[in-house]
């Protein structure tokens, strides 16, 4: 309650609850726009607007709210709220934010309020009493906003003496009086335009009340001795008024001090809960008016808001999460993927997919398409290895490259691909290594230098495989897949392999070897070799560790496949759509494997398993998928009642053009069904069903 300070006598003094600034996210967005498009380097004061509300439930702080409309001085104040006018000082640097003369700023604002009080301008327009200042610095690189609010209040040197302590309106008034007070207040607001008044005068005789604006004091009170000041009060505490009362008491002291010694204050709080309006928690008390003279200098002022720690200092808010486009892209990508989980595959473990580190060997047509599909799955870590440069024929088939990339001899594919991924989605960590992979049958022993070079390449590849979780083999020759197959098998990394023919392709996962120890135990218990396989059906239930690799079905070792071949055999010539299908399938296979609880050790699904319960939420986990472009070839006839291509529709369209289309747009789909005869067909079918149903009985 009121404090008793020893140096100002024994009388209790009135204390006020300061405003707490409340800034919605929209305010910061709008400030950013203003800074970029309008203020730029201008640091001068800009008018802004906030509001406060007296209908809060108990427990909420006394807020002054600024939202996105704060910069629009003509924007309406939200219903049942009171406006507060402010000045925004947006500095260009953190340094000028720090060095801004805050005391001078406050003094200047205090002076304006003092002048408005002295001149009587504040009597006519009491909004002048509720000024605020806002000092900001917007760090738009980091989306950090520094700010410091000030709600200037003039201080009366000896404080304000309480004569009667606060009581609630419910205690003070009878039920009838409360209702009559509400009625009188509502009609007062209606008469003055509907908006609430920050300050008003209250007259009371018995059960009836009346209100008037501040400047009408002389006419309003006929008795000389009593003045009741109404305040629209945003505070919710039962014992204290909010900040807006402060400056108006200075005004009251100056203008009415000669007339009355004390005034009654009614802090109006007006809330509605579940449709029930209530003002009984408003508070009322009586104070002694202090001495204030026209001639005196502007009183001392306070009002800089304390920070969250309770000290005098600015605040800072970090909005990178909702303003940094990169962060937004990341959260949107993730949320979009989650939609899949919420709607279709509730048990999908996205984290497993997103956190998988993928090594793409080959950044050509397959590499590009695999990378794009990985990004679609939200994979954050993609590394390319390729030794080629982008040539003029590439961009049309390899979706990560553009014409410009081919100029001047062409950029390195691996580097350009990584750079492009980052541009498509900055949330990805993409790296490119411009290097060759040593191959069987491609000698490296021309010189010591070439030997060293090859040794280094092997070492690099070993390191890269070790750093990643999944290795994609996406090169254009068979023999280039050999070394990574060996290294990955040794390091027990999942390998996904995609290879294109002209109109066929194969996508497969390599068998994932067991540890040496486990393997030893395994061969101990059973007959060595593959006899246990022969016992069962040939290709069913093969566990992941027994699955073959790309080279398992060959009885010759890989050699130089580019020698002694015609051009179309040397480089992969394939139907252009193929790599997109194959690249996409390779990623989908990886994701399915990752979803299986046993990962790369999962038993291979075969075509026969299509009818069984799938092993993962995403269905089968095959060993290989072999596709010929024309795989499933269903044929269907044109339907004479088709809602799009039937003669009836085309005729109407050609005859009536847009008129017909407008009819379609504007009516329910029964219009098209009626037109084409579908409606009739439905009815006939239903009738027929009904008929056969009767037959059965």
């Amino acid at each position: 309650m009121a404090s008793q300070s020893p140096d100002t006598g024994d009388k209790p003094k009135l204390q006020f609850v300061p405003f707490a600034s409340a800034l919605d996210a929209g305010f910061w967005h709008q400030l950013t726009q203003k800074k970029l498009n309008e203020y730029r380097l201008d640091e001068s004061a800009k008018p802004i607007k906030g509001y406060y509300y007296n209908g809060d439930p108990a427990g909420l702080p006394t807020r002054l709210t600024l939202e996105f409309s704060a910069f629009d001085m003509s924007a309406p104040t939200p219903a049942r709220c009171c406006p507060a006018l402010g000045s925004l000082y947006n500095t260009n640097t953190l340094d000028s934010f720090k060095k801004f003369d805050k005391k001078a700023l406050l003094d200047q604002a205090a002076n304006e309020i003092w002048e408005a009080i002295k001149s009587g301008a504040a009597l006519e327009n009491p909004v002048l009493l509720n000024k605020f200042l806002l000092l900001t610095f917007a760090d738009l690189k980091k989306y950090h906003f520094y700010y410091w609010f000030c709600f200037p209040a003039l201080c009366l040197s000896d404080g304000i003496e309480l004569i009667k302590p606060p009581v609630s309106l419910g205690e003070k008034f009878s039920k009838t009086q409360v209702i009559e007070f509400q009625k009188a207040y509502d009609s007062f607001c209606q008469a003055e335009g509907g908006a609430p008044h920050p300050y008003f005068l209250i007259g009371n005789s018995g059960d009836s009340f009346s209100m008037a604006p501040l400047q009408k004091l002389e006419e309003f009170y006929t008795e000389k001795d009593k003045v009741t000041l109404g305040v629209y009060d945003p505070c919710t505490l039962a014992q204290y008024p909010g900040w807006p009362l402060r400056n108006v008491l200075v005004l009251a002291a100056l203008h009415w001090g000669s007339r009355v010694q004390s005034i009654e204050v009614l802090c109006l709080r007006d809330r509605t809960l579940q449709g029930e309006r209530d003002i009984k928690h408003s508070i009322s008390f009586e104070i002694k008016l202090p001495q204030v003279a026209q001639s005196q200098a502007c009183p001392k002022a306070v009002g800089w808001e304390k920070n969250q720690k309770g000290g005098m200092g600015p605040r800072m808010v970090n909005l990178s999460e909702c303003m940094d486009p990169k962060r937004l892209a990341e959260s949107s990508v993730d949320l979009n993927l989650k939609l899949m989980r919420w709607r279709l595959v509730p048990t999908l473990d996205l984290e497993k997919v997103i956190s998988t580190k993928c090594l793409l060997l080959g950044a050509g047509t397959l590499g590009c398409n695999v990378a794009r599909t990985l990004m679609g799955w939200g994979v954050r870590h993609v590394t390319f290895v390729d030794n080629a440069k982008i040539s003029y024929s590439n961009p049309v088939r390899q979706p990560l490259y553009e014409f410009e990339d081919c100029l001047g001899g062409g950029k390195s594919k691996a580097l350009a691909a990584a750079e492009k991924l980052q541009r498509i989605f900055p949330g990805v960590t993409a790296k490119g290594f411009n290097m060759s992979i040593p191959m069987p049958g491609h000698p490296v022993n021309f010189s010591e230098e070439t030997m060293d070079q090859a040794a280094k390449e092997v070492e690099n590849l070993e390191a890269l495989v070790a750093e990643h979780d999944v290795v994609f083999l996406l090169m254009d020759t068979r023999e280039s897949r050999w070394l990574p197959t060996v290294i990955a098998a040794s390091q027990k990394k999942l390998v996904i392999n995609a290879a294109l023919g002209f109109d066929t392709f194969v996508v497969m996962r390599h068998g994932l070897k067991k540890g040496k120890q486990e393997e030893a135990n395994d061969s101990h218990s059973g007959v060595p070799g593959s006899s246990d396989l022969l016992g069962s059906s040939l290709f069913s239930n093969i566990p992941g560790y027994k699955l073959g690799c790309y080279f398992c079905n060959d009885v010759v070792a890989p050699g130089d496949s580019t020698r002694d071949r015609t051009l179309d055999q040397q480089c992969t010539v394939s139907r252009p759509g193929l790599s997109m299908i194959a690249g996409a399938l390779a990623v989908e296979l990886m994701v399915s494997v990752l979803q299986h609880p046993e990962g790369g050790y999962a038993v291979a699904s075969s075509s026969d398993d299509r009818m069984n319960e799938p092993p993962t939420s995403l269905g089968l986990v095959p060993h290989q998928v072999l596709v010929k472009v024309c795989n499933v070839l269903p044929v269907s006839l044109a339907f004479d009642k088709c809602t799009a291509c039937s003669l009836k529709v085309i005729d109407q369209y050609e005859k009536d053009g847009f008129q017909f289309l407008a009819k379609v747009f504007n009516s329910s789909h029964s219009f098209l069904e009626d037109l084409t005869g579908l409606t009739l067909l439905h009815q006939e079918t239903q009738a027929a069903e009904g008929y056969s149903g009767n037959m059965n009985v």
Binding site: L23, L60, R63, K98, K102, G275, K300, G313, S332, L339
Partner: protein, 216 residues
């Protein structure tokens, strides 16, 4: 009438406006703080409501900004101009610290889905947004099981079509489907907005007083 057209409860834009106006009328009657907002000069607008929730903070689950605190303390120390502390007329704030969360709900019309769409976001008083996880954490436990199976499980992030700021969105892809089971089941013509909001709202902490249901 075929079964499909019965199952597909679409809401035209004019009907949307009409239901919104009716909804607003009742909101005004009971002081429920819904407003119709439109951007200057534009005809397009939306239903909007802002509300605050508060809870007492425990010292460890408030916002953690240690690094930022450090930056701020240097600012305060370097400040050339000592700012005067408050006088003794200010109520000391020590005991009043509580965490206040500002919830914003916007109802917009989606032309492509021909359905209302609920946009929402939540922030602390300084504008720091709550993550979706933090919002989930505040959803009442009794709604959580339904969240995973109901028609309203689809929350995503999108730019507010009018404000251009990121909001969370209850995806409207299944609105028509579940609304037809609500609106279509009984032959009564209720306020679409009321039935829809009372279904999807609680999921994100928005509840409607019962009296809305009695009005239309």
């Amino acid at each position: 009438m075929d079964s499909e057209s019965r199952n597909n409860m679409i809401l035209g834009e004019e009907k949307f406006r009409y239901f919104c106006l009716e909804f607003l009328k009742h909101s005004q009657d009971i002081g429920d703080d819904w407003e119709w907002k439109n951007v200057q000069g534009e005809e397009e607008g939306y239903l909007s409501k802002t509300c605050y929730q508060t809870r007492v903070t425990k010292s460890d689950d408030g916002k953690k900004h240690e690094q930022e605190d450090e930056i701020l303390s240097t600012i305060t120390l370097e400040g050339d101009h000592e700012v005067e502390d408050d006088d003794n007329c200010v109520l000391p704030q020590g005991s009043l610290q509580s965490e206040v969360i500002n919830y914003e709900y916007h109802v917009l019309y989606s032309i492509s889905y021909q359905a209302p769409v609920l946009y929402f976001r939540a922030s602390f008083l300084d504008g720091t947004p709550l993550t979706l996880d933090a919002i989930w954490a505040k959803v009442h436990d009794s709604y959580k099981p339904r969240l995973l199976h109901g028609p309203w499980e689809t929350i995503t992030q999108q730019e507010h079509p009018i404000l251009g700021q990121p909001f969370f969105v209850l995806h409207p892809c299944r609105t028509n489907e579940f609304m037809s089971s609500i609106q279509g089941s009984a032959s009564r013509e209720g306020n679409y907005i009321t039935s829809w909001l009372s279904t999807v709202g609680p999921v994100v902490g928005l509840s409607l007083p019962l009296s809305y249901g009695r009005t239309v």
